[in-house]
Amino acid sequence: AEKTYVNGIDANFPPFAFVDKTGKPNGFDVEAVDWIAAKLGFKVVHKPMDWDGIIPSLNAKKIDFIASGMSITKARAKVVNFSIPYWTIKQVMVVPKDSKLTPKDILKSGKGVGVQRGTSEAKWLKTNMDKMGWKFDRVLYDSAPLSVEDMLNGRIVAAIMDDAPAKDMAAKKPIKILGEFGMPTEDFGYAVRKADKDLLEMLNKGIKMLKASPKWAELEKKYELK
């Protein structure tokens, strides 16, 4: 019989992973993994997990891998193995639609700028703010949408997040994307347990196949990532 793997996803991270109207996991990463599974002949179940518990869950074998817009970082690489990068993500700044501020204004304004706590952009801002001579109040939110919510309430002047969710949000909320502000890009990869070398190899193979196929472009288009 075909082997079944469990993919842990952060269903709060559209368009890469989310739960659709019917309640089924969906998104760029979900469809990608489904395609790979079909091609390589294994079964996959997508399990929405709490982001905070997702790596412990992986290592406790409650799930088998994580394909859910996870940035490849040194710290994470210590506890899990990453596949080859499959997506490059930029950090962008968003502001309300009617805002006249430029990124420069904002970064020196001394006003509040929202960012999701625990993300690489939050960490990067913290370590580089002073170096860059920026002056603003880094306000930490539980999620990017909440920072946008508060920005529209007027408590902060801008929010910083990944470009993909920013695009998604700009389609639904009165905000606009100002663009990058100087932070280096990051790569997404699938995470697997250190011991599961075979699975890692299989996923790497799958990613390569996918990127070479027309399905890739189709997905990019479908999720408005380009």
Binding site: A75, K78, Y141, G154, R155
Partner: protein, 222 residues
């Protein structure tokens, strides 16, 4: 060894900031909550209909909905209506309101465990209902409700962690940030857990002392 160094050099100093915020949230919220709970609890049992009905509605509403939702409405929702609380104020306000609702129920239970004779005796001496409740009934009811109210204080201590959702970064918030950045969940949350354990231990100890101080000689069981 490396783990220890990490905990002592990074986790502890980092979390201490959050701990301080937590303590600043807990103390006013706990005291305010108890005070509100005592007042509302008394109104729910002895108030006239004009006060009893709103008091009951308040208690049911705030006990009925998640604190998270309450904080959300106070912070994000009211802002839409132009009422923009700073995060800390919004958090304390939410905690006091929520905690007060729960305390009011424990107090109500305590009040209803008092025999009618006590109220009668007070009234026979010319006490007004208000005076009877304040100086005769409530002091007895409060003692009885105290173990329950202790529960609520303990819950509150842990629930202050929800303040992070409205950008008030306290102990758990700092813990989550550090864990996400370092990816050392186990160590970080072990320390976070220990900190809460210490806070709860302190609270339990304080409540126990209060209980003993308020013990009525000869009255209680064993």
């Amino acid at each position: 060894m490396e783990t220890w160094a990490f905990i002592i050099d990074e986790v502890v100093p980092y979390l201490n900031q959050g701990l301080w915020v937590s303590i600043q949230l807990i103390i006013p919220s706990a005291l305010g909550g108890i005070l509100l709970g005592v007042v509302v609890g008394a109104l729910r049992v002895y108030g006239n209909p004009f006060l009893k009905v709103p008091a009951n509605i308040y208690a049911n509403l705030f006990r009925g909905t998640p604190l998270l939702v309450q904080l959300f409405i106070i912070y994000f929702g009211l802002a839409k209506l132009g009422l923009k609380f700073p995060p800390f104020t919004a958090a304390v306000l939410g905690f006091v309101l929520c905690s007060g609702a729960y305390h009011s129920e424990y107090i109500r239970g305590g009040l209803q465990a008092i025999k009618e004779g006590q109220l009668k005796a007070a009234k026979a001496l010319g006490f007004t209902t208000f005076q009877s409740v304040v100086s005769i009934i409530m002091p007895q009811a409060f003692r009885r409700a105290l173990p329950g109210c202790g529960n609520e204080v303990v819950y509150l201590i842990k629930y202050t962690s929800l303040a992070y959702i409205i950008t008030c970064v306290e102990l758990t918030g700092e813990g989550k940030i550090l864990a996400a950045e370092s990816f050392r969940y186990t160590e970080v949350f072990l320390v976070v857990g220990l900190y809460y354990l210490v806070l709860v231990t302190l609270a339990t100890w304080g409540l126990r002392r209060l209980e003993n101080r308020l013990r009525i000689p000869g009255f209680e069981q064993s």
